[in-house]
């Protein structure tokens, strides 16, 4: 590992030879680093031609090699402008994620995400989509959302917006392995794993002190960068720290970011199940205790994400599989109200409706109903068997009040966590990764020091708006469903039905959710 790092720095030296003057203070700084690392003896150093860049100097250090951290790395490696940046990625897990050979009979892992076409485009642009495709992700082209009271439902179809798909359901392992394999093949990002960040020191964005000498400025300059200390004692110096270390981000707290949020008093239970028949629909039923989602996973496999109270979640985790299947079917199909029914759908699909709908005048009058408005409620498939362990995690909403500061930027869950309602969480993270890479691209193009806040602000402005809107939407939904109260139930259902009927609104919702 060390050898590879040394080899890389030698190659870089050649590229950067012209770049350094041989002033003595530079040599002094080099001596400090080299003697600290115990590399070469000091007397040799004075006679060297332009000193190589200190081993520990980086342009970007990504803390966290999860999906979003790896996405940032891939994004930087895939563009000619940013490929020359010296980037390191620090992750605490000892093994490199790899692909399993695809086996259609193998049980899919229960940790999955529903990725949007926008995310797919990102993967295609960085060259990681082929990897995902090789593991056969499951496409889905419709979504049905309904109320437990049976008073209303909404069907969304990709057809409504003229697209072939709404998205794919993919195992998180697959996404991660695809991104890491992309990083390996490009080879320009140094992955340090296992490694743990012990501390990060950030400089204040300082102004010049006019009585400094040039030598003092050079040596103080090193304080102007972020300094990272790893648990194994290694020290890194970097222009920019990217915090991609998840909901409990250490970078976020070390950089002093404030957060707002709350615990939902909900826990999500996830597992893989086998269902009655194959489908390509994402089903979501809103129960009084929380939403129950069923996502297609290929063949008759499906994935359940069941958000409910912590007590119920605990029971669900511990009960025998057979009992869990009964509970799941009650939640999905049986309990509470009758199946929702849409009078309009009946009308639209009847002979009279087709005449009205089909004619020129009719289309204009009816204001462009979407194809899905003509469909009745569909009963989802029964759950037949639970084939994996049931995992659970507590749900919260959290966002950092700022995403960036001098020499630091947060992406993904480190910046914001959302309710897993619509499976949107990881898509927001990939959106962050793309936006940050674009911002850094523009920074390099303009000759900026990419760690400066004025460069990073662009990223924050772009993403905060999008993320907060999505978070508010999902949070609003969640709160709406936390109450079981007659008039509110009816109002909710009316809301559902309204959305189902209003073509343009539905199209907007779908387009927004697809990124």
């Amino acid at each position: 590992m060390m050898k590879r790092v040394v080899m890389r720095s030698l190659v870089r030296t050649q590229r950067r030879l012209f770049f350094y003057n041989s002033s003595s203070s530079f040599t002094q700084r080099l001596q400090f680093f080299q003697s600290a690392a115990g590399f070469c003896n000091q007397s040799e150093i004075e006679n060297q031609a332009p000193p190589p860049r200190p081993e520990e100097d980086y342009d970007v250090v990504i803390v966290g090699g999860g999906m979003v951290g790896a996405a940032v790395g891939c994004g930087l490696a895939s563009s000619a402008m940013t490929r020359g940046l010296r980037v390191a990625m620090i992750d605490s897990s000892p093994k490199q994620p790899t692909f399993r050979k695809h086996d259609p009979n193998a049980i899919p892992d229960q940790r999955v995400s529903a990725i949007t076409p926008a995310t797919v485009r990102f993967f295609q642009d960085v060259g990681a989509w082929e990897g995902v495709l090789s593991a056969r992700p499951t496409p889905f082209d419709s979504m049905q959302v309904w109320d437990y009271g049976g008073l209303g439902f909404t069907r969304y179809k990709a057809e409504d917006v003229g697209e072939p798909l709404l998205g794919y359901v993919v195992e998180n392992n697959v996404l991660l392995a695809a991104l890491h394999s992309c990083l390996q093949s490009v080879g320009s990002i140094e992955t340090m794993n296992p490694a743990q960040v012990k501390s990060v020191m950030f400089p204040s964005s300082s102004n010049l002190s006019p009585t400094q000498t040039k030598e003092a400025a050079e040596s103080n300059g090193k304080q102007d960068w972020a300094q990272i200390e790893l648990a194994d004692g290694r020290r890194l110096r970097t222009r920019l720290v990217v915090g991609a270390d998840g909901g409990k981000s250490a970078v976020r707290s070390m950089a002093g970011f404030q957060t707002r949020g709350w615990q939902y008093k909900q826990t999500a239970v996830i597992c893989t199940v086998k269902v009655e028949w194959e489908h390509t629909t994402a089903w979501q039923r809103f129960l009084p205790t929380g939403p129950f989602a069923l996502l297609p996973m290929g063949g008759t496999f499906s994935n359940i994400v069941w958000s409910t109270s912590p007590e119920i979640a605990q029971e669900l985790k511990l009960m025998p599989s057979v009992d869990f299947v009964v509970e799941a079917n009650r939640a999905l199909l049986e309990d509470y109200g009758s199946q929702p029914y849409s009078g309009l759908a009946e009308l639209l699909s009847s002979g009279l409706g087709k005449q009205l709908f089909g004619s020129e005048l009719g289309t204009q009058l009816l204001g462009a109903f979407t194809p899905s408005s003509a469909e009745q409620f569909q009963v989802p498939p029964r759950v037949m068997d639970c084939v994996t362990e049931r995992l659970s995690f507590p749900l919260s909403l959290l966002h950092a009040t700022k995403y960036v500061n001098h020499r630091v930027a947060l992406v993904g869950d480190a910046a914001h966590t959302v309710h897993p309602l619509a499976g949107q969480g990881v898509n927001l993270g990939f959106g962050d990764a793309l936006a940050l890479v674009n911002t850094l691209h523009r920074g390099v193009e303009g000759g900026f020091d990419i760690g400066e806040e004025r460069v990073l602000k662009e990223y924050e402005n772009e993403r905060k708006k999008t993320n907060m809107t999505m978070m508010a939407l999902l949070d609003g939904f969640q709160k709406l469903y936390a109450t079981d109260f007659g008039p509110l139930n009816i109002a909710r259902a009316a809301g559902f039905n309204t959305v189902n009927l209003l073509g343009p609104l539905k199209k907007q919702i779908i387009t927004y959710a697809m990124g």
Partner: protein
């Protein structure tokens, strides 16, 4: 002012009035020394303290210049790539090019160009500016190699220095003899090298914006920074450059949008504009 140079210094006038925008007026007696930084005495240090810190304060008095800087860099970068056939998608397209920034001030232009790979020399008549510029550039290894010299274009011609790219932004409207200035810039340029000159147009709009608005209403610049009668129209500049053996290849206006607080390039040269000339004679 006593001159140590055999030929009249073009910057002796500039030194008495504020150099390229928009600085507070320099202390009296800031004559060019024609050498690197000499030791600074305590009284000077105090004045230095007052002025120097603000060059790189993005929210300070130089804020308008920092905002405008990005569009100038963008134009210069793409024009250099076009002329020298460099790959605009590379992170360091200016690699191997020797570039001089005449009237570099605190180094706002030098630093980004150095990060793009250029071999940069910055010259200015006001020594304080160079002190600030050197200190700031020393903090980042990517810019530490910039050479800063307290000298004039003419002195460099005299020393027979030649560069691939010569840049003089917002200087020509301050010099005593624009024709001589252009000739000096041309003399500093290698054959087939290029010169960038940016300045303000002498027009009704520029009077309204650059003088009345900027100096008196918005307070962006100290009053008296600019002398409207010394602004140069694009036609005049083209003539001057032509006579100095610089063939004007490109010209672009720079326009400010006060709502988005962004500058952009445009065909409108009524206020700020930038020109590119190619050296055609040896």
């Amino acid at each position: 002012q006593a001159n140590k140079h055999p030929t009249p210094s073009l910057f002796s006038v500039a030194a008495a009035s504020p150099p390229p925008p928009p600085p507070p007026p320099p202390p009296p007696g800031a004559a060019p020394e024609g050498s690197h930084r000499s030791s600074v005495d305590v009284a000077e240090t105090a004045k230095f303290a007052a002025i120097a810190a603000t060059w790189w304060d993005y929210q300070g008095p130089f804020k308008p210049l920092h905002i405008m800087n990005q569009i100038r860099i963008s134009f210069i970068r793409s024009a250099i790539c076009r002329h020298f056939r460099k790959d605009a998608n590379s992170a360091r397209p200016l690699e191997g090019l020797q570039i001089v920034d005449v009237g570099c001030g605190g180094g706002l232009l030098c630093e980004p160009l150095a990060r793009m790979g250029g071999l940069i020399t910055g010259i200015d008549a006001v020594e304080k500016n160079l002190g600030v510029a050197s200190l700031h550039a020393a903090r980042d290894p990517a810019t530490a190699s910039i050479k800063y010299l307290c000298t004039t274009a003419e002195q460099m011609v005299h020393e027979q220095e030649k560069f691939d790219v010569v840049i003089a932004l917002e200087v020509i409207e301050h010099v005593a003899d624009p024709m001589e200035f252009c000739k000096s810039l041309a003399a500093l340029t290698k054959k087939n090298g290029i010169v960038f000159i940016s300045t303000l147009n002498r027009s009704i709009q520029s009077f309204g914006l650059a003088i009345v608005a900027a100096e008196y209403v918005l307070g962006w610049l100290p009053q008296g920074t600019h002398n409207w009668s010394k602004f140069v129209t694009p036609e005049e500049l083209a003539l001057l450059m032509g006579k100095a053996s610089l063939s004007v290849e490109e010209m672009a206006g720079m326009v400010y949008n006060p709502f988005s607080q962004k500058w952009s390039l445009s065909k409108d040269t009524s206020v700020n504009y930038i020109a590119l000339g190619v050296k055609i004679d040896t």
